[in-house]
Structure formats: C-alpha cells, structure tokens
C-alpha cells in the first residue's frame, strides 16, 4: 500500500471540513487549541475571530440558520469551551446544525486538574445532540465525518468534538476518504395517513399550526403548495414565522403567549389541528389542558419523541415533510370557517395608533419591515423587542427571521447577525435588539468592525429589562426589582468607538427618515430608538391560562 502524505491532526480537521463544504468558521484561540490554529494558518478556510467564545457559537448558529449549512465554531479548553455552552444549548433547543471543536489538554494531563482543563465532554451531555472526545488520531477523520453527519440527520442539532492537544499534533496518514455513512438512526417513517385523510376530510374548522420544522426540512414550497390547494387557515409559531406566505388570505399570524387574537381564538375554536414540524411548546399552548380543547390532532414530525409528548396525536405522521405534506393534499369544503377566520383577522388587526410624541416600537418595526429590501435577514435578541418583531415584521422565509426561540437567549441578536451576514454577504442583515440584550454580547461590535460587516442594528431602548418589568407590573405588584437600566452607556458613542455610524431618535416624526438613512448606509449602522418605558407587549396570555383568555391593551 502506498502511504498517503502524513498530516497532523490539526490539518486533518480542516481537510475534513473542506470535504463537508465548510468555508467559514468562528472562533477564538487559546493554549490547548494552538496546533489547530497553526494548521488553520495553512488552510483555505476563512476564520472569523470573535471577541468571546459565546459570540463565536451564536455566529455559527446565525450562519447555519441563514444559510442552511452547518455552522462551525472553535474554542480552546477550559473557559473557552465552557463559554460555548450557552450557544450549544441554544442550538439544541432550536434544532440548529452546529459543529463545535474544542481543544483539550494533552491526554497525559487529562484527569489531573491541569491548567485550563474542564470536562467539556461531561458538560456537553445536556446541551448537544451528540459529543465526542477523540483519543486516537487514527479516529479523528472518521469522528469528524460523523459529527457533520449527526448535526444534519433527522432533527438537526449541535455536535461537539473535543480534541486533546497531542492528538492535534500527532501525525496520521490522511486518505481523502468520503464521508462515512451514518448507521441509520432514524426510525422507519411511519404514517397514519389513512386516519389523517379521514380527519381532514371530515373537519369543519381545521387549522394548520406551522412550526420551525418546516424551514428545517426545507419544506416551505411543499407547505405553500398544500396551503394553495387546501386554502386552509393557518397560524405559526415563533420559529415557524416566514414559512407561510405572510400575504396568504387566511394566515392569522403567530399563536401563543404573544400571539394575535385571531390566531389564538381560531386555534381554540378549531376542530382539527394539523401540527407541521411543531411540538406544542408551553409558550404556544398556554394551559395545555385547555389548548384547542375540541380539536383532533394530526401531527407531522421528524422526531418520534415529540409524538404524544405534550398532546395526543389522533394521527401521527413521522418522517420527511417534503413527502408527507403533499400526501395530505385535498380540497376542503370549509367556506364558512374560512370566512369566520377572515373576519377575525380584520376585526382584530393591529392598531398602530399611539397617542403622544414618543415612538411606538411596533410601528417602527412595521415600518422597518415595509422598507427593508426583499430577503433581508432579521435577527433579534430576547424580550419585548423580540415579541414586537415577531408580531409586526413580515418574512417570506424562515431563514430570514433568526430568533432564539426555545432557549430565549439574550445576547443572541448581534453575533447571530454577524454569522448571517457572512453567510449571505449580498443580503441586508438587521439585528433588532433591546438595551438589555444588546449589552450581553456587545463585544461583538468589534467583530463587525474587524470584518467591516454592514450589519444594521435597531436598538429599541426603554432603559429597562422591559419584559421582566412588564411581568413585575402585571404579576408581581409592580415591585420593580433590578430591571432599571437608566445608567446605560451612551449607545451612539459606544457604536462610534467601533467605527459604527449611529443615530439616536426620540420622536415619532424622526422615524421614517432614520430608517431610510440606516438602510441606505453602506456600512454598519446602529439606530437607537428611545421608547416609552411603560409600553407593554400585547396581547399577553398569562401563565397557566387558556390562550383565548388573553390580556389586551385597554
């Protein structure tokens, strides 16, 4: 046998990445990953130096979500690795394909409480889909191939590969092998299709409940064809936004805790819920026992463990939505239900009337949405601004709205926007943030500066941790514990310090021009929008309450 050229473990890492089409990675070097960074020096893969490993992890998540490719992040052992954890938890909770590479102390030092040694494998158990620790350089390439395959198969998710420093320097014969096939892990598709077709044909008031799985399955065209054929009323989850054409006549918007009144009432009144890539999350269902109480359920899912987890499925259809959605297509005789939904949609439409001079965040975000170019990617942080963005902005694809849904991670927005901008350099990317969340990964402004990324930031500023403050007012007798941020820094000066153009607006009449100026600016831009701290997100379904018993602005 003719030997292949000897490579180091570090070099093998980048060769395998190239075989998987990786062009961009996010990371931060340190002692135990130095041989990998040395190999990077000779690689064609472009590395984006973030300013905190959490930023690198979220940029990888944003990259993956905006492009549909696997996001890759690198960190050193110990604190570098632990700083990835929040990003991995976020990726697991929202089913995002990410491969995280961590350096580890040399194998001889492992288990000795060495400098910057932490059991990242143990820590990763609860926040990854799978994780590996490589203990033989001959296993490295195979393990990395598996990591990419696992991240993408079935329900997607993050995979961590921990590589001791001596494995990174060890020499190995690297053959350009094809990616190894995964042992088939998915259960054979099973479908209760006959029952589902009967339920659908007999339904008088069916509704389509669209989740994030539609985008993850790349089944947006199939969903829209199904909707065109059935003309069925629909609602979407936070992560499902963008899957349904927002112009569809019987699309009622988001359901759940901050869902539209029309969406929540229609779901409560429905006699059949068709859950598509959705999992009956508690923020969606409100009080579970009273969620859609008269509805039968058809559940289309990729993950067997979600079937019957929170709601019994009268018909479960497990497998690929691209195949299973078309199989359900039929014309439906539900005219009076459609009209009822349409009337609710118009009767309960958003009201942007906001007395006084102060700026109304929902109106600003609606205007940004109306003025932004087609295919703009919007990321958000977490809190009031996030729910206002979900309610008042429109997206034509799930990959254009990146928000930390299940984990609800503050600090997501800016680094996710960085990843999105790198994966889609020709599209506009806007991070909608709040003054609380923005400060959680503010160091990533340095990444924007370093790579001259034209990310736009709309900073909704109420000098509060607004969502917590809203709950304190509503459910904690107005005891405003630790939610005042009146001592925020000067955000315009802060942005300027990173060579980011910035502007602050405080009055309604400034809004339109400021948005136009931001969108026209070629480079990065921060628009600070001061709003009234008393503004709340409405409607709101209180905890453990049925969704039709929502609180509204009065």
């Amino acid at each position: 046998m003719v030997s292949e050229k000897k490579e180091t473990g570090g070099s093998v890492l980048f060769k395998v990445m190239q075989q998987h089409g990786v062009e961009h990675v996010f990371g931060y070097p340190g002692g135990a990953i130095m041989p990998i960074y040395d190999a990077l020096y000779d690689s064609n893969i472009q590395h984006f130096l973030c300013r905190h490993e959490q930023g690198a992890a979220f940029s990888a998540v944003g990259y993956a979500r905006a492009s549909g490719k696997v996001g890759v992040c690198l960190a050193t052992s110990g604190p570098g690795a632990t700083n990835l954890i929040t990003g991995l938890a976020d990726a697991l909770a929202d089913s995002i394909p990410v491969v995280a590479i961590t350096g580890q102390v040399p194998m001889v030092a492992m288990g000795s409480d060495a400098f910057q040694e932490v059991d990242i494998f143990g820590l990763s158990l609860a926040c990854t889909k799978h994780s590996f620790q490589v203990r033989d350089v001959n296993d490295l390439a195979k393990t990395l191939h598996q990591a990419f395959a696992i991240a993408l198969e079935g329900r997607q998710g993050p995979v961590l590969v921990d590589i001791p420093k001596d494995i990174q320097t060890a020499e190995v014969e690297f053959a350009v092998a094809l990616a190894s096939n995964l042992a088939k892990k998915e259960a054979a598709p099973s479908a209760n299709l006959g029952t589902a077709l009967t339920l659908l044909s007999q339904a008088k008031s069916p509704i389509l409940y669209v989740g994030g799985g539609v985008g993850m399955a790349e089944a947006v065209p199939e969903l829209r064809e199904f909707m065109a054929a059935t003309n069925i009323p629909s609602v979407a989850t936070l992560k499902g936004l963008g899957a349904v054409n927002p112009e569809h006549e019987f699309y009622l918007g988001m359901l759940g805790m901050h869902g539209t009144k029309a969406a929540n009432i229609a779901v409560q009144q429905s006699d059949l819920l068709i859950a598509v890539g959705a999992r009956f999350d508690d923020r969606v269902t409100g009080k579970l026992a009273e969620f859609a109480p008269n509805a039968k359920v058809i559940h289309l899912e990729i993950d067997r463990a979600e079937i019957n987890k929170r709601r019994f499925a009268d018909a479960a259809i497990l497998g690929d939505l691209k195949i299973n959605l078309p199989a359900l297509t039929m014309s439906l005789d539900i005219d009076s239900w459609r009209q009822h939904c349409s009337v609710m949609k118009h009767d309960f439409a958003w009201d942007y009337n906001h007395p006084g001079e102060t700026i109304f965040a929902p109106a600003v975000l609606k205007e940004v949405s109306d003025l932004m170019p087609k295919n703009t990617v919007v990321t958000t942080d977490v809190g009031q601004h996030q729910m206002w963005a979900a309610q008042h902005m429109s997206f034509n694809d799930p990959s254009n709205f990146l928000t930390s849904g299940s984990m609800g991670t503050m600090g997501f927005g800016v680094p996710a926007a960085i990843g999105a901008q790198i994966s889609r350099p020709d599209d506009t990317v806007i991070a909608v943030s709040g003054d609380g969340s923005f400060m959680m990964n503010v160091q990533e402004l340095s990444t924007i500066k370093r790579f001259q990324l034209p990310v736009k930031i709309v900073l909704i500023d109420n000098e509060k941790l607004g969502m917590v403050r809203q709950w304190q007012d509503l459910f904690f007798n107005g005891r405003l514990s630790e939610t005042d941020l009146a001592d925020n820094p000067d955000f315009v000066m802060l942005a300027n310090a990173f060579d980011i153009k910035a502007k602050k607006i405080t009055k309604k009449e400034e809004v339109t021009q400021a948005i136009e100026e931001m969108l026209a600016h070629q480079g990065p831009y921060l628009l600070q929008v001061k709003i009234d701290a008393a503004d709340n997100v409405w409607p709101l379904v209180p905890p453990n309450t049925a969704n039709h018993k929502m609180m509204e602005n009065r």
Binding site: F121, G122, L125, A126, K129, H130, S131, Q133, I150, G154, K185, A187, D303, R304, A305, I307, N308, K309
Partner: protein
C-alpha cells in the same frame, strides 16, 4: 409510580453510560437497578435498566432510542404497574 425495565443494546463507547443516565434523569425517571454485559465478540453492550417514574415509559424509550450510540431499546414485557406508598 410505574416500574419498568428496559433492555438496551448500545455501542460500548466510554461515554454511552453517562449519556444514557443523563437522559434518564432529565426526562424524570429514577434508576432503581442497572446491569450491564459487555459482549465478547462485538463492541456492543447489553444493558438492563430498571426505572420508576410517573411518566410514560414510551417517552423515555423514544428519547433513549434517539441517542446515537444506542442501537435498540426494548421495554420488558414483564414490566408491571405497581402502586408504591
């Protein structure tokens, strides 16, 4: 509380037991007994896991079946519902 026994076939990776127990605990099941038998011929591990919980055993079955290093999970047919004080 429901008592159940699962018969699990897993790849004998150094990490598989940790992950199995992590998922079992997180999904709300207490381990009441565990035996494992490494196979002589293959790199497989047979595990007998007894658990108790108020949750459906199907729930744990599906979550464990998803794990990459777990090949097969069978709920022991002799398992019975018991009332505990």
């Amino acid at each position: 509380m429901n008592q159940h026994t699962l018969r699990i076939t897993a790849h004998n990776q150094p990490t598989v037991l940790e992950r199995l127990l992590q998922v079992t605990r997180y999904r709300g099941f207490s381990v009441t007994g565990m035996t494992m038998f490494p196979s002589n011929e293959s790199n497989l591990l047979d595990i007998e896991l007894s658990v108790s919980s108020e949750h459906s055993i199907e729930h744990l079955n599906h979550q464990l079946s998803k794990l990459f290093d777990i090949n097969d999970v069978v709920i022991d047919g002799k398992s019975s519902q018991q009332n505990s004080a």
